[in-house]
Symmetry: C2
Subunit: 402 residues, 2 copies
């Protein structure tokens, strides 16, 4: 039984430096974005488990006896799924498991809409976590996100991190660290590691073969491929702009590889330079105070400019991204693409001495290009447990409208 | 005595790849531009030596006895200038020599206008060459150029190359290779080496400490820092655009050095990549036929795009150059800055399948930006001797209007 009403949140991610280079064995620097996914958890009707995703129009509810019977059937009926150990977190969800879950939930084979994949991931995580740690009690779950989906900002990972934390907590696999009267709390390092590993399995249901970067950022707020993982990123104000130009990450990654094979002597040094930018940027961030003053920004801006040129050299630029950089440059702001490129999102640093009028003017100009624009921050905390009363009115409203 | 009427021409230069990197020990690839400087040489009044530069408003004439007396005075009066050996081509023009020449020609100390420096270089080369190879006979010299001055296109070197060739030829230090009835002729490799070394001394009068690249291109049509010097460059059509934004090469070079010292791990790989572009480009040019067809161009265009990004990373871009690249890109043409950057000139490749309408539209758009634009070629011949009758009417007119 679960008696408390609580909320869990996890941040989205942006890649500061190292996109594409990371695929080729170089360093990358991914940080948490202060656009978050929120999960509200409260006691549900006895014997019912329900999930609502108002952003994608999902409102589903199941009898828990039916769910646990499904779990037993999946484990018994297939020779490939002979035991509960198949739900171990070291293993991928199997094709057979996912087919059985789809059939149970009435999701067509091959359905790739966010609502189908989100429902599938929810069911998979419920069954797998309950098989390992004991039945999930009767709870109502609502998930809502500030993040746009499909924009390379880690929205599916933030969802999976929130689900993993909530389900592991209600099963007792991890503690409930929020004391009465506290607004927020975080889990121990060991618990975070468990949350991350289950979130990764959820990501696999949604993405097939994710890199694991997004769920790590959702959990710990920072990911880099350099040991040791830096403990924190200062809070940096940014504009996040979605050009809304669709692109295929797979095609872009293949294009970069082809360019490197064609001109190795020209392209490999560019990857080395990007690698050095990621490393230097990490050093700069570590040396910065938690709330940096204006003089800390010019080097970060220079790294943005250089890497944006390098990403163009790799062939992952796009006229919409050139436009984004030009528009912000006309307001003396520095931008780069983030993620796969070829469209998608760009980030613009907002040093503390940027006038609010300049930010407003830049946002207007970006919107006039048909882009969507958020004034937000990087350096946000990883997965967090909240008392519902500490959430903003906007978030609370979104989580109760269902 | 000199009895023939002839013309000498030498090309300007553009740097295809390797500007800035060459200062830091990397390869550069400079090629001849089909905008040329022309020198008309004809018998003059007995005992007179005259030079006319209609483009910069110079029309001077000297008694040769006065000139040779000056030569003697320069050689005798100063302990630093004790012998005729001071005019040896291995030595620089000295401050004292140049002061004496300025006084003789009535040029104020420190005068740096093109007409002053051109007159000074003419006097210096006349006296130095005559001291070494015998008196320059009475000739009339007219020099006119298609090249703009001060745009980094090697106009002063083309002037010095024409002067060196003409003066060495009339003194008998090199042959007159043009047979009766021929339109053009070139000198032997040995003679070209002599022309180049004297042109370099003329450049020193004008520029103080030139690199020697411009006079080498004016002489041989190609310069690269890789042994062996490639024998030819295919003829490639280009647009040459002068943004007319003034810049200081010295300041730009110092800025690049500073950036490399500040971020060596980020910037040194960029220089390596530029180096590889120069080398790959040279291989591509050598493998191309003399008149390449459209399929030979995409790689050259890709090199332009990559290097333009790299030059921006080095900090030598300029909004005017961004504009130039954008405007030509809007006509599917690829451009890069050439030379020091920070304004100055850009080159745009014109593959043979480019429609004349697209070229015309690009030129109009560039002119609308306030730029000056020439439709020309690279891969032009080096210093050349012409019969006057083989010159175009436009060039002949320019050389006879004085």
């Amino acid at each position: 039984m679960w008696a408390r009403e609580l909320a869990v949140s996890a941040p989205g991610k942006v890649i500061l430096h190292g996109e594409h280079a990371v695929v080729l064995g170089k360093v990358a620097l991914a940080v948490a974005l202060d656009l978050r996914t929120f999960l509200r958890l409260r006691p549900g009707a006895e014997g019912r488990l329900s999930v609502s995703l108002p952003g994608v129009g999902v409102l589903r509810s199941w009898d828990t006896p039916g769910l646990w019977a499904l779990r037993g059937r999946i484990c018994l009926n297939s020779p490939l799924l002979a035991s509960i150990a198949d739900f171990d977190e070291s293993k991928s969800p199997s094709v057979e498991q996912l087919d059985a879950l789809r059939e149970f939930a009435g999701i067509a084979a091959g359905a790739s809409a966010p609502e189908s994949l989100a429902t599938l991931a929810f069911l998979y995580m419920c069954l797998a976590i309950s098989a390992k740690y004991g039945d999930v009690p009767s709870v109502d779950i609502v998930v809502w996100s500030e993040l746009p989906t499909g924009a390379g900002l880690g929205s599916s990972a933030a969802y999976a991190v929130c689900l993993a934390a909530a389900l592991l907590m209600v099963c007792g696999a991890i503690s409930c660290p929020l004391q009465e009267g506290e607004s927020t709390a975080r889990w121990t390092e060991e618990e975070l590691t468990l949350i991350n590993s289950w979130a990764f399995r959820g990501e696999r249901v949604i993405h097939g073969n994710p890199s694991g970067v997004d769920n790590a950022v959702g959990t710990w707020a920072l990911w880099d491929s350099l040991p040791p993982v830096a403990s924190r990123v200062p809070t940096l104000r940014i504009l996040l702009t979605n050009t809304k130009v669709p692109r295929s990450t797979k095609v872009l990654v293949a294009g970069v590889k082809e360019k490197i094979l064609k001109f190795p002597a020209i392209m490999n040094p560019v990857l080395d330079s990007i690698d050095a930018i990621s490393q230097e940027c990490q050093s700069v961030l570590e040396a910065m105070p938690a709330n940096p003053s204006p003089e800390h920004y010019p080097v970060l801006e220079e790294f943005f400019d250089i890497n944006q040129h390098h990403l163009n050299v790799l062939g992952v630029g796009h006229p919409s991204l050139d436009r984004l950089c030009q528009v912000t440059a006309s307001h003396s702001l520095h931008s780069k693409l983030t993620g796969a490129g070829g469209g998608g999102c760009g980030i613009t640093l907002l040093p503390p001495d940027t006038s609010p009028l300049a930010v407003e003017a830049a946002k207007q100009d970006l919107c006039a290009c048909g882009f969507e624009c958020w004034e937000t921050k990087i350096g946000a905390p990883g997965v967090t447990l909240h008392s519902c009363s500490s959430l903003s009115a906007q978030v609370l409203h979104a989580l109760t409208q269902s």
